[in-house]
Amino acid sequence: MTPRVRGWRPLEGALLAVAAIVALAAAAAPALVRDGRVVPSDLGAAAAVLAAYAALHVAMCWRAPDADPFIVPLLALFGGLSLTLVRRLAPDFATAELRWQLLAVGAVAVVALGPVETRTLQRYRYSLASAGIALVGVTLLFGRSAEGAVAGAPRLWLGVGSLGFQPSEVMKLVLIVFLAGYIDDRRELLSEGGPRIGRWRLPPVPYLAPLAVMLGLSLLMLVVQRDLGAALLLFAITLGMLYLATLRADVVAVALAAFAGGAIYLHGHAEIVATRAAIWLDPWSASQDAGYQLVQGLVAIASGGVVGTGIGRGQPGIVPAVHTDYIFAAVAEELGVAGAAAVLAVYGVLAWRGFRIALGARRSFDALLAAGLTIGLAFQEAIIIGGNLRLMPLTGITLPFLSYGGSSLLICAVCAGLLLRISRPSSVPDGGLA
């Protein structure tokens, strides 16, 4: 069967049109509130990003007609909303946000349609893992705080001059690629089990050891840097991928027990963990200092009501870090519970497509990679939204695709690009790499 080279992608086109309507209406609303009228320059940024995604849609029709039709519209929808929210909540970052959004479209296009196959990633899994650990290590020594942050804030940034990025974001992607490669090499052995004691079969320790070392090193570095959200995310990704590949509940049980032990130890020995737990359980008694952000976030969410105050009419700017960690609170305030639930459902669509792509992948490495990327995105959303809603202790990570943040947005775009690439059945010939 010769693969079709071109083809219309009607579902992608229709979804993209809906996404464009949402993004343009969202961009027009704040201008109406502010000036009482909408001039073309108010919609310029959103239109530029939408045009970039439309171009990507045409390129997909041309080069990858079989690829998944949901990913590009999802990115356009989140991109448009993010642009509008950041322009209003953090006007200083508006230009940078537009630049990052356009770069993200480019990143998706290069990863999804470019010459690099996923098997190249598979081949360099150990090099990537070493580079990732080295990167986090270098940050430990030479890292700096985000611009304008208070003294003593976690030093998570690496960069020269005004250019900077967050290595923990890169680490997430590196860990997923490494795990997919490592688990794919040894799947039968990992699920087989090791020595027996009575009727209990122990996990196959020799094969889990390198995995544990990789995870342990990255977690240690992130905990030392006090980047608890990223550490939690890396742990969740590892556990999720290991369980998917082996279906062994005992491995999960052991890992969760270790996690509980670690959490209790850190609660007693690390001030930041104890503070986070305390303000999670009772933010109100510390509402003017440690719990200020949490309380303001809850007030913002509550003031949204069912349909929200309307975009441009709320006061989410009061919440600290509203354009990054707390962007979901801004969505909930201005779009209400109806809009917040819709955004959650759209994230659900993304997770559904991710796992569909994993199920349809031709090679087991691709399947593990797609599942890992989906798990990573889904857990990141759950961790930060759960933190915003006080369902779990707040740990500062970005909300994928919506928060302002160059490193986060680019890495999420690469994840989406990889999902698109894996979903192209015609692009990957079978066999090859052993």
């Binding site: 579902l11 979804l15 996404a19 209406a25 039968e188 087989e192 309307g310 975009i311 779009l335 809009g339």
Partner: protein, 153 residues
């Protein structure tokens, strides 16, 4: 209501309705995909036949992960006329017989030198033993796994 308020209401409604239209379209696509999968299912069933997967190949040239599609009677051994030929010195010429009987799979040691194990339990020669989907069968230095996707055993 002033014209601006009306426009604002329109913009707000468009955002929310658009978001839900997006989710609705996705739901419709999911429903269509499921319906197509259900129609295609009977045709694909033949692909889910029982098979043996090599976990450890011993000195034979079978790589781990190699799969043997198998019929209802499977002769396993080193001789060339077996259904599954394993060229390993620890495998006897006629090592074992795997057969489907009474809705299950049974394996019998045909008097091999190095024996047959199911999930690391050594079998007595001439005594057939039940093998379920997912079980590991050891023959000398070779280990195989029986997989039959249609059975939930």
């Amino acid at each position: 209501m002033t014209p601006i308020e009306a426009e604002l209401l329109f913009a707000r409604a468009l955002v929310l309705i658009g978001l839900y239209a997006f989710i609705g379209l996705a739901g419709y696509a999911a429903w269509r995909e499921l319906r197509q999968a259900r129609r295609a299912a009977p045709a694909a069933r033949g692909a889910h036949a029982a098979r043996l997967i090599v976990l450890e190949g011993g000195a034979s040239d079978r790589m781990p992960g190699t799969q043997f599609g198998i019929g209802p009677i499977v002769r396993i051994g080193r001789d060339i006329d077996n259904d599954v030929v394993l060229a390993d010195p620890t495998i006897s010429g006629r090592h074992a017989l795997l057969a489907r009987r009474d809705g299950g799979w049974w394996i019998e040691d045909l008097g091999s030198r190095n024996g047959v194990e199911v999930n690391r339990t050594r079998l007595s020669a001439g005594m057939p033993f039940v093998v379920r989907s997912g079980d590991t069968v050891g023959l000398g230095a070779v280990r195989l796994r029986l997989v039959c996707p249609d059975e939930t055993a």
